[in-house]
Amino acid sequence: MKFGIFYELSVPRPWTRESERTVYNNALEQVKLADELGFDQVWAVEHHFLEEYSHCPSPELFLTACAMITKRIRVGHGIIVCVPEFNHPIKIAERTAVLDILSGGRLEVGTGRSATWTELAGFNTNPDTTKKSWDEFVRCLPKMWTSEKFAFEGEFWSMPSRTILPKVYQRPHPPMWVAVTSPGTELDGADRGLGSLGLTFGQFAEQEKRIAEYRRRIQLCNPVGEFVNDQVSTVNFLYCHEDDAIGLQRGRHMANTFNYLASQLSSVREVFPAKSYPSLGLLPQLRRQATGPEASEQAGEGLALGGPERITKALKRWESVGVDRVNFLLNTVEAIPQDDVLDSLRLFAKEVMPAFAESKVPVAGGR
């Protein structure tokens, strides 16, 4: 099992001149330490207009900064919103190639389509077409990275033959993933040979079932890229403390705060009757868990919160249900002081990581 960290870059009100900068600087300090401690990936989301919850509209810039201050941690651009109003596919191909070069071939590419009305309406996007545009984008990207000349005529975008430059550093190209919140999206990924970048916290039994079906389906896939990424990644919170009770208490506060902020998002389905968003994705679960930041007694199943022993046990369970990678959210709206976050990372690396050292598997291609 591999471990990573991921960032929403949530910024608490009141927003001062320095508050955004502090959040970004703290994140960079965490990434640098995570690299030194042996964490495998750092992921950054693309979100727009999501007040407090995520102030990370340009993950490629944040990840470039990450790459410049680290040596080996892989940088996960995820997810890129594959909707033409948000990102032109040529620009995606170009900027990911540059990031892959600058990072020395450490790029992972996550893809998705956005699930909030706040964002989709902000870009004047029709929610009915995002799944189709995502499909078009993920089929084009590997060819744009690898073909000398590329031309395309599609439903959502077209281009005459051009040489898209530069080319990615990794051969044949970086691993590709799909963000999974709504049940069934992991199967869309499996059919295309994409890794499953799960964004749902907890729930062993449901995840186990979904992972098993993903594994079955990806055996039959028609890959969009030049190799199949059959890795399953999930997200989790991390707060590790020598004192299990303190770890639980602080960790739950952080997790509940995050869930509460997430529950404020206006999902497409809440606002807009859409066939293409058949479920609310992760929001119902988060709403159930989040009765407020003070709901300290709540902690979802399998969260990496508490002392090293408890966290090891939870992660072993995730490993047993078939998860290859776990990406941790370390903080939200700076609910945990920066020094405590860094201590948590160090303790996790010292006490928990060794229990998983022997089970490491190679990254699915792209090196």
Binding site: R13, F49, E270, F272, A290, P293
Partner: protein, 249 residues
């Protein structure tokens, strides 16, 4: 923390509906036809939202126009103007105004669920290319709106957000303003979706200028079996609902 509403409840407390008690009987409402229109509104709408609630991001309002052919109060039509927000972690529509078409329904909606119901005229008409709704009071049209170009969708594609009303609850010898959650169930028989058009909206009538449409979202119309259930939760209107919620049943 997310923003909170800024409505000062006290100045309007005396005008609020007064519940008799919290033992409201459930109403079954079979064969309802419900038109819902949603549009984005101004940030200043925060002034209309109780302090217990968070605003939606972006802020938006809905107009719900329903025809109920059967109810314990007889057939009636209902129009609800709601400012959407969050009660803690849950999406909820705060009822700004309610118009019902019969005196009996007005009385029951006020006394049993705390709707700020007024007597008025409500028409819901279906044409080949649109479904129109007109809400009037004293024969003066207040809202004229329509769903344009209906197209069939699944009932599962429609999500109705539960309402909260602001009403006075008996507390010993006194009564005090509270938020009342009204959370109907829906069994859909038919659903359609379309663009919305708001042709008239006399916002001043409800002191709701900030609810004027800024950007349309969508419109839907469904045929469904629904209800007005027993009250399950009441909330203090002045403190965050995560701290001020009381479970009734």
């Amino acid at each position: 923390m997310p923003l909170f509403g800024q409505l000062d409840v006290q100045p309007i407390a005396s005008r609020l509906a007064q519940l008799t008690d919290l033992d409201t009987p459930a109403w079954t409402l079979a064969g309802a036809e419900i038109l819902q229109l949603a549009w984005e509104v101004a940030d200043e709408s925060l002034d209309l939202l109780p302090r217990a609630m968070h605003p939606a991001v972006p802020p938006y309002a809905t107009l719900l126009v329903a025809a109920y052919p059967e109810s314990p109060a007889g057939p009636f039509n209902l129009a609800l103007l709601r400012l959407m927000g969050r009660a803690g972690a849950h999406p909820r529509g705060y009822v700004i105004a309610a118009v019902a078409s019969t005196p009996d329904s007005v009385h029951a909606l006020r006394r049993q669920w705390g709707f700020p119901a007024e007597l008025g005229g409500i028409t819901l008409r279906r044409y080949h290319d649109q479904v129109t709704a007109v809400v009037s009071r004293d024969s003066e049209p207040l809202i004229e709106a329509a769903l344009i170009n209906p197209e069939p969708i699944s009932g599962g594609d429609v999500q109705y957000i539960h309402s909260v009303t602001l009403a006075r609850l008996p507390e010993g010898d006194r009564s005090a303003p509270h938020l009342i959650q009204v959370d109907p169930h829906y069994t859909f028989r038919k659903a359609e979706r379309g663009r919305l058009k708001v042709r008239r909206f006399e916002t001043a009538v409800w002191n709701a200028k900030t609810l004027a449409p800024l950007a349309p979202i969508a419109a839907s119309i469904t045929t469904c079996d629904t209800d007005l259930p027993q009250i399950r939760f009441v909330m203090d209107a002045e403190v965050p609902v995560v701290k001020g919620t009381r479970k009734i049943r």
